[in-house]
Symmetry: C2
Subunit: 222 residues, 2 copies
Amino acid sequence: LREPEGLTAREIIEVTLGLARKAGFGQLSMRQIATQLGVTATALYYHFRDKNELLDQVAAHIMASLKAPDRALRWTERLRQVVLTQQRAMLTYPGLARFLIYHRESAGALHWMEMILEVLRDAGFSDLETARALATLSFFVHPLTLVDDRPHAHAEHMYRLRISDRRLVADASKYPHLKALLPALARHSYDSYLPLALDAVIAGIAARHKPRQRRTARKRAS
Amino acid sequence: LREPEGLTAREIIEVTLGLARKAGFGQLSMRQIATQLGVTATALYYHFRDKNELLDQVAAHIMASLKAPDRALRWTERLRQVVLTQQRAMLTYPGLARFLIYHRESAGALHWMEMILEVLRDAGFSDLETARALATLSFFVHPLTLVDDRPHAHAEHMYRLRISDRRLVADASKYPHLKALLPALARHSYDSYLPLALDAVIAGIAARHKPRQRRTARKRAS
DNA sequence: ACCTGAACACCGTTCAAGT
DNA sequence: ACCTGAACACCGTTCAAGT
């Protein structure tokens, strides 16, 4: 659509998105991105102040592309879908979660929070309740989303360990419980535990805050 | 105790520990560590295969130094103390949590799991129950422990935002909920929310698994 | 055995210079 | 206006050489 000559910020972001999906946010280098674009690394500095500004916009682009779930859904289900959608994006772009936590003032991080806040406030949470619920959710992090150097298999195990692992065999006496649990631990992946853990967190939020919804309203002085 | 000449692995680890506490795991460089020791960067490679092996041992040293809580405590309280102790260590050494998640097969990561598993199994959890509880806890991550370039204030806010933040002012229409919530959000720190969120997670584990303890045992076919 | 020094292949970034 | 090329101050790591 554009003339083939003339590097645009949009092009740079698009190429960076592709590289981020393949290699992870943490592995991106200005020289690598520039090479992919057939240009010199320093050329990028004409379009972006520094690497940070480029990644900021890439992250914002990803977060803005996430579609919000149906507003007609019950708030618990709506919240569940929002968080799962976000987690999926962060697994697709390794290191994105880490970047957003690192740059909590970035547009991407703001959008991240805004998506969650919208659900909570639509559900009738008070400001205090909303702050608490957001805080609780902020401790809910998929560990794999923080490993920023490779795409993650859909069913990656919590442990890279095998029973034959040399360190575990050598130091078995130091990790008796771990050794005993290895078969049980090896049976499942993060994927299978994620919704389970998320449901527990959301149930906890629902139990604590009791916004106006279902059940008869309890007396609320305020 | 040792002759002043002669670099030892122990010395290297000790100095690295100090630097990690001040600057964070992610900011360590071999040249920097060597300089601190009055030695060349390449000298370190005589004592450690590579940077990774050095950090592995530093991380293991930290995790091994954590003292386990009283075994006589109720398992919920014991679990609470274990997790809080671990979180404290990871806030003291910025980037340690990230390193352990990244190197899930390291001695430090194994010890991390072992500490939790010990509590769960002592409490009478079955293998399946233990695996589920560990998985649930593995999604409980203090976000600040993942920012690896500086020590963290004891009461750091979830948001670096201020109401006057230029981005938030400029794009206020994009973040209506966030803008409305800023005063409520600014009122508390991660520190104040951590135990609250942890208690919710532990309560969730307790509700789901019901190990032999308190309350009359429910019928358990198996 | 233990350490140095030079070197290699990388980084992010600055800046004068080209067109 | 837009990009290049050289340069700077960094990385982790290898390897021959010194003692």
